[in-house]
Symmetry: C2
Subunit: 241 residues, 2 copies
Amino acid sequence: MKQAKVRLYVEQALGAGQSVPLERDQAHYLFGVMRLALGDPVLLFNGRDGEWRAVVAEAGKRAGSLACEAQTRPLQPPPDLWLIFAPIKKARTDFIVEKAAEMGAARILPVQTDFTNSERIRQDRLQAHAVEAAEQCGGTFVPEVAGLQRLDRLLADWPDDRQLMFCDEAEAGSARRLGAASGDKWAILIGPEGGFSEAERARLAAHPQTHVVSLGPRILRADTAAVAAMTLWQQALGDWA
Amino acid sequence: MKQAKVRLYVEQALGAGQSVPLERDQAHYLFGVMRLALGDPVLLFNGRDGEWRAVVAEAGKRAGSLACEAQTRPLQPPPDLWLIFAPIKKARTDFIVEKAAEMGAARILPVQTDFTNSERIRQDRLQAHAVEAAEQCGGTFVPEVAGLQRLDRLLADWPDDRQLMFCDEAEAGSARRLGAASGDKWAILIGPEGGFSEAERARLAAHPQTHVVSLGPRILRADTAAVAAMTLWQQALGDWA
């Protein structure tokens, strides 16, 4: 059986015999860029139905369709882990979203903090980065990128049953580690460059769900801290264990 | 006392009363870009003498000098950890070097593997990335970037007293963890995109110093894997413990 050269995220339901119509840019990618022909295989996933092998049923310059044949992998949802971070520079923000998808976060929440005042994010572009990361890394799940919100509001409405791993750069060098599990819903909060304000720190300290964790003696950039924190969490409490 | 806005890596020895002449690009950065004036403070480090506070003693467009006043932090050398990886794309290679400096690797070794045939690297450019990362993250140490070498030769001459943490993407999903320490000299080997050849795998398996470690059930890009692996190592055996 011919090996699929392309792995594609689609919105449609996937199942045996299902026909999957292609959008214009997907058709361009498959037939214009990757030069697939009728009958060529493609791997598909939609974040819900696992991974499926499909073949090209119709191919045009701007349209086409795939026919789903068989499931190649079941859905592997990540643990119920949120990644909360304050976007600053475009390239590093893109990177954090990519890494969150690779490392197995279920939801990505960009926040405004007292010391970061990014007024808006391109939510659709960030979501596309998460999709692309899942396509590349063989994931069957795509984390949702939430809209930008203020950290203080997010904390004010914080769900009682969700633990919060707070990676505080003021803790650099201290020996705190991730504590014992207290439920399976978690969030990781990465400090923005410039750190948190005293008000934010006090609010975080007041939450009984907060677990302060050190990321070692060196100051890490936010994108590095995101990967390091997700590694510690996945190893201690997630699906690496 | 005025807060230093700039942290700069220099080659010269640092010590109380030491005068540090500036190179042309350093003078341009300090006086042209950052607009420092006579008497303004700068933090200096050279990878050997810790971090020093200095002040501008002479300022010109293309030259100048700083006068070292007092040590602000001692040298904090990282553990004796090498990071070995196969460079492919420029941006991700730069990123791996940056992350190795932030995460506390002592030495960075780019290698050619059977499935990667990058013929050359810009060693000077990569070294500059390591310097910049140390400047940014408050490090007092800069890891050396070695010249490109073949992985099989590196393994053939492998030092008996250095353990090797081998992050094998074929191990994705298995439950292997970093074993008990066997000495304080280590190296982390990150699999290239495309994986290792059977010959490389056999050679690695034959080394008694090899510790195979899984980085979870998802396939990680090489740059993500580098940060994740260094996190696991630092937490288990390095200076995060």
